[in-house]
């Protein structure tokens, strides 16, 4: 359960101060599926950083399950990320020198579990995205769609409450796009996640049950009862 109240983020660009976010109020319930869209530079990514505990707002509150992320130290934010939030990125962001299996394991490293358990859980996660037999391949040896599936396995292996996806299909062609959206949707349902996705893709946006649009740091939310 997310509650954002008056979230404001200022960046200084030279002498100019940019309002990346300008008093955002937003509530996201557990198990919700929210799609965020908007023009480039409108503040989508900034909002995702705030929700993902990657950065703190200049003003306002971001309450995740009763804890205000805006007031947490860097170390506490790191802990929140490691336990509660899974990320999927546009360019996959896999470590190029590590195998698929090892990439998935990196998400479990901060949780301090035994190597054996870590390996088992990572292997299970890869099987769940249909890449069980590619565990020992390097990212460079896989297609874009496969790489993004490894990234999804990495995001979900720690069983987070929240899955954040930043343009997860942005670097993929059409057939891959559907494949990834299918996987994400399946995972959302299976894990009972709160799923927040930033996208440019209007086809995906149309199907979203709840669509937030960010323009010049302001947000408008549209409920789409039909597809829910």
């Amino acid at each position: 359960m997310y509650e954002l109240r008056g979230v404001t983020k200022l960046y200084s660009r030279g002498k100019e101060t940019v309002h990346a976010l300008d008093g955002i109020d937003l509530t996201i319930g557990d198990g919700d599926r929210l799609v965020i869209q908007g023009p480039t530079g409108g503040g989508k990514s900034t909002l995702l950083q705030m929700i993902g505990a990657l950065d703190r707002p200049t003003a306002g509150e971001i309450v995740l399950d009763g804890v205000d992320l805006a007031k947490l130290s860097e170390a506490r934010l790191t802990k929140v990320r490691s336990e509660n939030i899974g990320f999927v990125f546009q360019s996959f962001n896999l470590i190029p020198t590590l195998t698929a299996q090892e990439n998935v394991e990196t998400a479990l490293v901060p949780l301090g579990m035994k190597a054996k358990i870590r390996r088992e859980r990572a292997a299970e996660a890869l099987v769940s995205v249909g890449l069980g037999e590619r565990a020992n391949h390097l990212p460079g040896e896989m297609s874009g769609g496969q790489q993004q599936r490894v990234a999804i396995a990495r995001a979900l292996v720690k069983q987070p409450k929240v899955l954040l996806a930043d343009e997860p299909t942005g670097n993929l062609d059409e057939s891959m796009r559907d494949e990834i959206m299918d996987v994400l949707e399946r995972m959302w349902k299976e894990h009972g996640l709160t799923f927040i996705m930033v996208t440019h893709d209007s086809a995906i946006a149309k199907k979203a049950p709840r669509l937030a649009t960010i323009r010049k740091g302001k947000i408008t939310v549209k409920e789409n009862a039909a597809s829910k």
């Binding site: 990657l54 490691s82 336990e83 990125f89 020198t97």
Partner: protein, 490 residues
């Protein structure tokens, strides 16, 4: 995970790692070569000094310089001319104390009793000049009147009335000069004789404190055709050759070695010594011991190896100063450059991996864990560089040793001028003013021994290089924000 990640990174980014490592390797190799060459220089100098001092001598004590020594003690020879037609050979030996100054034997005990002195032994260095030959009286040819008598051959003309002249007188003689060292046979472990090896016969026994026996230097023995069992006569005293000694490096300290008491008797210096050879209990405390002796035993000059080393000149000293100055600075400069390059390369490698490290932070990796990963990679690079550098350095040192260029060392040339006390052995002013005091030159082959300290230094430098590079990169990595994971462009 730390090691898996580390291993994978180093294996898959081999080239970049190798560039950093070879930079460090070059610096480290240079340090090893310079270090081992300088220690080789030190060894060469030690060898030179050893030939004067003998093994284990840390310093020598001689009488402090006094102005009075000089002409009055110059050797004089007096011969009476022989009668007509006589072919009798006359001979005279002059035994002089080298440097003309002596210390009392009691000083040896006094020096030995000083703090920090492990052992002290006195020795008497003598120069013997032997003049022998025939001195024929001139014949007085009477022209008019009567002559009284002819003058001595060496004293010029006759003194008689000018009615005749002296003809046919003359002298035919040889001068033979050699050095004799009176050694304390009760302390065979210290003194100049230790720098020679007995190659034939035997050395003195402790019971031969006053025996008429002699050990001859092999070079001198060769020219004089001396063998074990031969007899040497010094100032009409016959000595039996019991052994032949060969100098292990450079020239021998003396031509003949005899028991100290015998030497003292020969020169008439009972209970006197010219030089005291001192061994310090701790070789690191030499300058302190020097001070103690100079303070407590008055009228002495203490010369340490270091003092003597200052008088070494020639290509050895040139190369030595080159190795210590140019070599040292060059290796420091290369090391600093290598450290900087390693640091900058590591730092730029981190910049290229901004998104990777940002992603790890977004996944919940603590900043410290990311930094540790970067530092770990840099330290391994440093160690690889260290291994390469040590291999390269050892190869370099081996090449120097294999070629072993010959360096010449001139010793004591500065002492030839005025120091009455003289350097021990080599530099002392002897007969004929500066002739014997002239520089003693010897050739020493340069080696480049690599010792454990040098290797330890190299390993230390490698780790330091890795840490410096890691500090650059780690600092960079620690400042990355987790939000960098969302960067669109690499």
């Amino acid at each position: 995970m730390f090691f898996t990640y580390l291993r994978r990174e180093l294996r898959r980014r081999r080239k970049a790692a190798l560039v950093v490592a070879s930079g460090l390797a070059l610096g480290i190799a240079l340090v090893i070569v310079v270090n081992s060459v300088s220690s080789g220089m030190g060894k060469a100098q030690d060898k030179v000094l050893q030939s004067l001092y003998g093994l284990g001598t840390d310093m020598t004590v001689t009488k402090a310089a006094t102005a009075t020594a000089g002409a009055s003690q110059q050797p004089r020879f007096q011969f009476d001319a022989n009668n007509n037609d006589s072919s009798t050979t006359q001979s005279s030996d002059r035994v002089m104390v080298q440097g003309f100054t002596t210390l009392a034997s009691t000083t040896v005990t006094k020096v030995a009793g000083q703090k920090g002195v492990s052992d002290a032994v006195g020795g008497l260095s003598l120069n013997v000049v032997k003049v022998d030959g025939q001195f024929t009286r001139g014949q007085f040819q009477q022209n008019q009147g009567s002559g009284t008598e002819g003058g001595g051959g060496n004293r010029g003309g006759g003194t008689g009335a000018p009615q005749g002249e002296v003809t046919g007188g003359g002298a035919n003689f040889n001068i033979n000069s050699y050095s004799v060292y009176g050694t304390d046979v009760t302390k065979p472990a210290l003194g100049p004789l230790t720098s020679s090896k007995i190659t034939s016969g035997r050395t003195f026994t402790t019971a031969e404190a006053n025996s008429k026996v002699v050990v001859a230097d092999s070079a001198y023995a060769k020219t004089k055709k001396l063998k074990v069992g031969s007899t040497v006569t010094i100032k009409s005293v016959k000595y039996k050759v019991i052994g032949i000694a060969t100098a292990t490096s450079g020239d021998a300290a003396a031509n003949l070695y005899i028991p100290l008491t015998q030497a003292q008797t020969l020169s008439g210096d009972k209970n006197k010594v010219t030089t005291i050879y001192v061994k310090a209990s701790d070789s690191k405390q030499i300058s302190a011991v020097k001070k103690t002796i100079q303070g407590n035993v008055s009228g002495t000059t203490v010369t340490t190896s270091a003092d003597l080393a200052d008088t070494v000149s020639g290509s050895l000293s040139t190369a030595s100063s080159l190795a210590t100055s140019v070599g040292k600075w060059l290796s420091i400069a290369v090391l600093i450059a290598a450290f900087l390059v390693a640091g900058l390369l590591t730092s730029s490698a981190v910049s290229r991996r901004v998104r990777e490290f940002g992603t790890l932070k977004a996944l919940g990796w603590k900043s410290g864990r990311v930094t540790r990963q970067v530092v770990g990679e840099a330290v391994v690079n440093g160690l690889v560089g260290g291994v390469l550098g040590i291999a390269l350095g050892l190869a370099g040192a081996y090449v120097v040793t294999a070629i072993s260029p010959t360096l010449s060392a001139s010793l004591g040339s500065t002492a030839a001028g005025g120091r009455a006390g003289g350097g021990p052995g080599g530099g002392g002013g002897g007969f004929g003013g500066g002739r014997q005091a002239a520089a003693k030159t010897l050739d020493v082959a340069l080696t480049a021994p690599v010792n454990a300290t040098t290797i330890a230094l190299a390993v230390g430098l490698a780790v330091a290089g890795g840490l410096i590079a890691g500090a650059f990169g780690g600092w960079r990595a620690s400042r990355l924000r987790p939000a960098d994971a969302l960067r669109r462009v690499e």
